[in-house]
C-alpha cells in the first residue's frame, strides 16, 4: 500500500494537466489552499508533523485509487457480490483522509455525494454521480447495467482527486480542525445511518473517520504531551472507548455489522462515546499556544 507506483505518478501528472485545462474550478480551489498556507502557517516547528500527515493522506489516496479501480472493474464486469464487498472497504480510505479529500470542494460531492445532497442543491437525480449512485445500483436496483458510465466517471474523478492531493500543502488547521470535523461527520451522518442509506455500511465509515482522527492525534501526540500530558491520556482513553464499542460490531476481520442491526440504545451509546471524545479533541489547538 505504501509504494507509489510509477504508473500512478504518470497517471497523476497527466490527470493533473487534464484537470488544469478542463476544470478551472478545481484548480482554483487548490490555489485557495495554498494561499491559506501563507497566512496561517505560523508554526514552523510543526513541519515534521505536517509532512507526516501529508504522506498519510497521500498513502490513503493511493490505496483509495487502487481499491476504486478494483471496485469499478468488478462493477463493470457485473460481479455484484464482489463489488458489494469492495464498496465499504474502498470507501474507508476516503473517509480516513476526509479532511484532505474534502478540501477539494467540487470533487467531494462528485465522488461522495448522496442523492439528498444533490437534491438539496436543486439538482435532479440525473446529475447524481459517484460512489453513492453505484451503491444505489448495487443494493436497490441489484444491477450494474446502465451505470457503466457512472463507474467510469468515478474512476476518472478518483484519479483527479489523487493527483490533486499530491499538491496539497497541509497547514496546522487542516489537522486540528480536521480531527474534530471527522468526529462531527460521525455525529451528524454516520451515527444516524444517513451516509449509507442503501448499503447500511455506515459503521465502516464510522470506523474510518475515527481512525483518521486518531492518526492526527498520533502524529501530534508528542506536541500535545509537551503542553498537557493529561489531555493526551484522556484522548487515549476516549479513543479506546470508541474503538472498543466499535469492535463489538466487527463481524469478520475488518468488516462491520449493518447499521440496521443497531438498536437506539446502541447508537446512543456510540454517540455518547463520540461526544466524550470530541470534547477533549477540541483542545488540540493548545499546541499552537
Amino acid at each position: 500500500m505504501k509504494f507509489k507506483s510509477l504508473s500512478a505518478i504518470i497517471i497523476a501528472s497527466s490527470v493533473l494537466m487534464a484537470a488544469c485545462s478542463s476544470d478551472e474550478e478545481t484548480a482554483k480551489s487548490s490555489d485557495t489552499t495554498a494561499e491559506q498556507t501563507e497566512t496561517t502557517s505560523i508554526t514552523p516547528d510543526l513541519q515534521p508533523q505536517l509532512d507526516s500527515y501529508q504522506s498519510f493522506a497521500s498513502e490513503q489516496m493511493d490505496a483509495f485509487l487502487t481499491e476504486t479501480e478494483k471496485f469499478v472493474t468488478a462493477f463493470k464486469a457485473g460481479n455484484i457480490e464482489e463489488a458489494k464487498s469492495i464498496y465499504p472497504l474502498a470507501r474507508m480510505y476516503y473517509e480516513r483522509s476526509e479532511p484532505i479529500a474534502e478540501s477539494f470542494g467540487d470533487l467531494d460531492p462528485i465522488i461522495d455525494g448522496r442523492l439528498a445532497d444533490i437534491q438539496e442543491e436543486g439538482k435532479g437525480k440525473e446529475e447524481w454521480t459517484g460512489y453513492h449512485k453505484l451503491e444505489y445500483a448495487l443494493w436497490v436496483e441489484n444491477k450494474t447495467e446502465g451505470y457503466e458510465e457512472v463507474a467510469d466517471q468515478l474512476l476518472a474523478d478518483s484519479k483527479k482527486l489523487y493527483a490533486l492531493v499530491q499538491t496539497v500543502e497541509v497547514i496546522p488547521d487542516t489537522m486540528l480542525t480536521g480531527a474534530v470535523d471527522l468526529l462531527n461527520e460521525v455525529s451528524t451522518s454516520k451515527i444516524t445511518g444517513e451516509e449509507e442509506i442503501y448499503s447500511h455500511t455506515d459503521l465502516y465509515d464510522f470506523k474510518a473517520n475515527i481512525e483518521g482522527a486518531e492518526k492526527i492525534y498520533e502524529i501530534l501526540k508528542d506536541k500535545i504531551k509537551e503542553k498537557d500530558a493529561t489531555l493526551a491520556t484522556t484522548l487515549e482513553e476516549k479513543f479506546a472507548a470508541v474503538n472498543d464499542l466499535l469492535a463489538k460490531y466487527e463481524t469478520t476481520d475488518g468488516n462491520y455489522a449493518s447499521y440496521e442491526e443497531l438498536t437506539d440504545e446502541n447508537t446512543k451509546e456510540l454517540a455518547t462515546a463520540v461526544n466524550e471524545l470530541g470534547e477533549p479533541l477540541s483542545q488540540l489547538g493548545i499546541i499552537l499556544e
Binding site: 493529561t230 476516549k238 499552537l288
Partner: protein, 414 residues
C-alpha cells in the same frame, strides 16, 4: 466583582499544597473542565449584580424561591464509578454554579483562537435573570455499588409506585442526578445546564430534559396552567410552614440530607383538544374551583377556605366529591408545588398537542405526594383530560454554605 479567576501558576501552587478538595481539572476531566481552575472556596455570590438570587445559603435556591418564568430541567446519568470522582464532580460544579447565578460565564476564554471557548457564550450581555440551579440525586445513583453509597440511601428515596392510569415512558423517567435551572430568561436557564454538562463531559450524560414556562399576571398572584386554572394556590409559604412541609430537619432522614428536600417530577400531558370542548361548568367541576377567580366553587376569592362539605340549597355538594381539589384535600397532606407548563410540539401518532404540566413538587417526605396521588386515584375527574408520561424523584441536596460544596455531607465519612 467576584471574578475569582485563578491564574495557572496560582492553581498549580494550590494543587501542590493539596488543599482538601480543590476543584481542579483532575485526570479525565478533558476539554472545558481543564480550562477551569476554580477553588470552590473562593468564588462568591455577587450580591450587587442585577436580578440575582444567591446560590449560597442554608437551603438550595429554586425551591422556596418565587417561581421564575422558565425552567430547563435536566436528568443526567453518570458513568463515574467511584465516590471520589463523584465528589470531584460536585466540587467542580459548585463554583461554576455560583458564577452562572451571578450572570457570569463559567470561565474566561484564553486568547488561543484554535480552541473552543471555555463558556459557550449564548448568555453574553444577558443578566443573571434570577437564575437558580437546584441539584438533586436520584435513587439509581445509590444503587451503583462502586460508589459505596448504599448505606447513605434514605429509605424514602425510591422510584414512585405505579399510580392508576400512569402511562409512563421509560425515556422520560428517572435519572442519577438532576439539575433544575430556573430563570426569567429561557436562554439563561439553558446556557447554565449546557455549560455544566459540557464541563462534565465524560462524567455525565443527558438522560432526558424538559423545558417549561410560567406566565405571571401583571399584578402578581398565581400563574395559570394550560387549562387556564390557577396552579399553586394552596402552597406553603411562611418559613414555619416550609419547615413542616419542605425542609428535612435534623434527624428526619439521613444526616447528609438535613436542610434538603425531595423533588418529585411528573410530566403530565394535558389533552387540550378534549378539554377545549368541555363546558365551563364541566371544567370547573373537574377542578372544584371557579376558573376565572380561582375561588373554590361557591366562594368568591382564590384564597377562600376550601370546604369540601358545603352544599347547595338542595343539599348537593358544591365541590363534587370526585373533583381534583376535593380528592387532593382529603389526603390531608401538604406539598410545595412549583409547576411549569410545557409545550413540546405534537404527538406524532395523533397530531394532538404534546403539551401539559411539568409538575414539580418539593416535600420532606415523598409519601405526602404518594398519598395525594393515591387519593386522586381512578376517580379524579381530571384523569379524563390528563396522562402522566414521565416521572422522577430526586433527593435535593442541602444548601451550600460558602467554603463548602454541593453534597459535601454525602461524601464526608461521618
Amino acid at each position: 466583582m467576584s471574578d475569582q479567576k485563578i491564574t495557572r501558576r496560582k492553581m498549580l501552587k494550590l494543587s501542590g499544597m493539596t488543599i482538601a478538595g480543590v476543584a481542579i481539572g483532575a485526570s479525565g476531566f478533558g476539554g472545558v473542565a481543564k480550562a477551569l481552575g476554580y477553588d470552590f472556596m473562593q468564588v462568591d455570590d455577587n450580591t450587587s449584580t442585577k436580578n440575582k438570587i444567591n446560590f449560597y445559603g442554608r437551603y438550595q435556591s429554586g425551591i422556596s424561591t418565587p417561581v421564575q418564568k422558565h425552567v430547563y430541567f435536566a436528568s443526567l446519568d453518570t458513568s463515574l464509578s467511584t465516590k471520589e470522582e463523584l465528589q470531584k464532580l460536585f466540587q467542580m460544579w459548585t463554583p461554576l454554579a455560583v458564577r452562572l447565578t451571578n450572570g457570569e460565564p463559567i470561565g474566561d476564554s484564553s486568547s488561543n483562537a484554535y480552541v473552543p471557548t471555555v463558556d459557550t457564550g449564548e448568555s453574553m450581555n444577558l443578566d443573571a435573570s434570577n437564575l437558580t440551579l437546584t441539584f438533586g440525586v436520584g435513587p439509581s445513583l445509590f444503587d451503583k455499588a462502586s460508589f459505596g453509597l448504599t448505606s447513605k440511601k434514605p429509605s424514602e428515596l425510591k422510584d414512585l409506585p405505579h399510580f392508576p392510569k400512569d402511562q409512563l415512558d421509560a425515556a422520560l423517567c428517572g435519572g442519577d442526578i438532576c439539575i433544575q435551572a430556573c430563570a426569567d430568561d429561557p436562554q439563561v436557564a439553558f446556557h447554565a445546564v449546557r455549560n455544566l454538562i459540557r464541563a462534565a463531559s465524560g462524567k455525565v450524560t443527558l438522560k432526558w430534559a424538559q423545558t417549561g414556562f410560567n406566565s405571571m399576571p401583571k399584578d402578581g398572584g398565581t400563574p395559570r396552567n394550560l387549562f387556564a386554572f390557577k396552579d399553586g394556590t394552596v402552597n406553603p409559604s411562611k418559613s414555619e410552614e416550609l419547615k413542616q412541609t419542605v425542609w428535612i430537619g435534623n434527624g428526619e432522614s439521613k444526616g447528609w440530607l438535613t436542610n434538603g428536600t425531595y423533588l418529585i417530577f411528573r410530566r403530565i400531558q394535558m389533552h387540550l383538544e378534549t378539554w377545549d370542548r368541555t363546558s365551563l361548568k364541566g371544567q370547573e367541576e373537574t377542578f372544584g374551583r371557579h376558573r376565572d377567580s380561582g375561588a373554590p366553587i361557591g366562594m368568591k376569592n382564590e384564597f377562600d377556605q376550601v370546604d369540601i362539605t358545603s352544599t347547595d340549597a338542595n343539599g348537593k355538594l358544591l365541590i363534587p366529591e370526585n373533583s381534583h381539589i376535593s380528592l387532593a384535600k382529603k389526603a390531608k397532606r401538604s406539598i410545595l408545588r412549583r409547576a411549569f407548563s410545557y409545550s413540546s410540539g405534537i404527538v406524532e401518532s395523533t397530531g394532538n398537542y404534546d403539551a401539559g404540566l411539568m409538575f414539580i413538587s418539593f416535600q420532606k417526605d415523598p409519601q405526602a405526594f404518594i398519598d395525594i396521588q393515591n387519593s386522586l386515584g381512578r376517580v379524579d375527574r381530571l384523569n379524563e383530560y390528563i396522562t402522566h408520561r414521565g416521572s422522577a424523584i430526586f433527593a435535593c441536596l442541602p444548601g451550600v454554605e460558602k467554603g463548602s460544596y454541593l453534597g459535601e455531607n454525602l461524601f464526608s465519612t461521618l
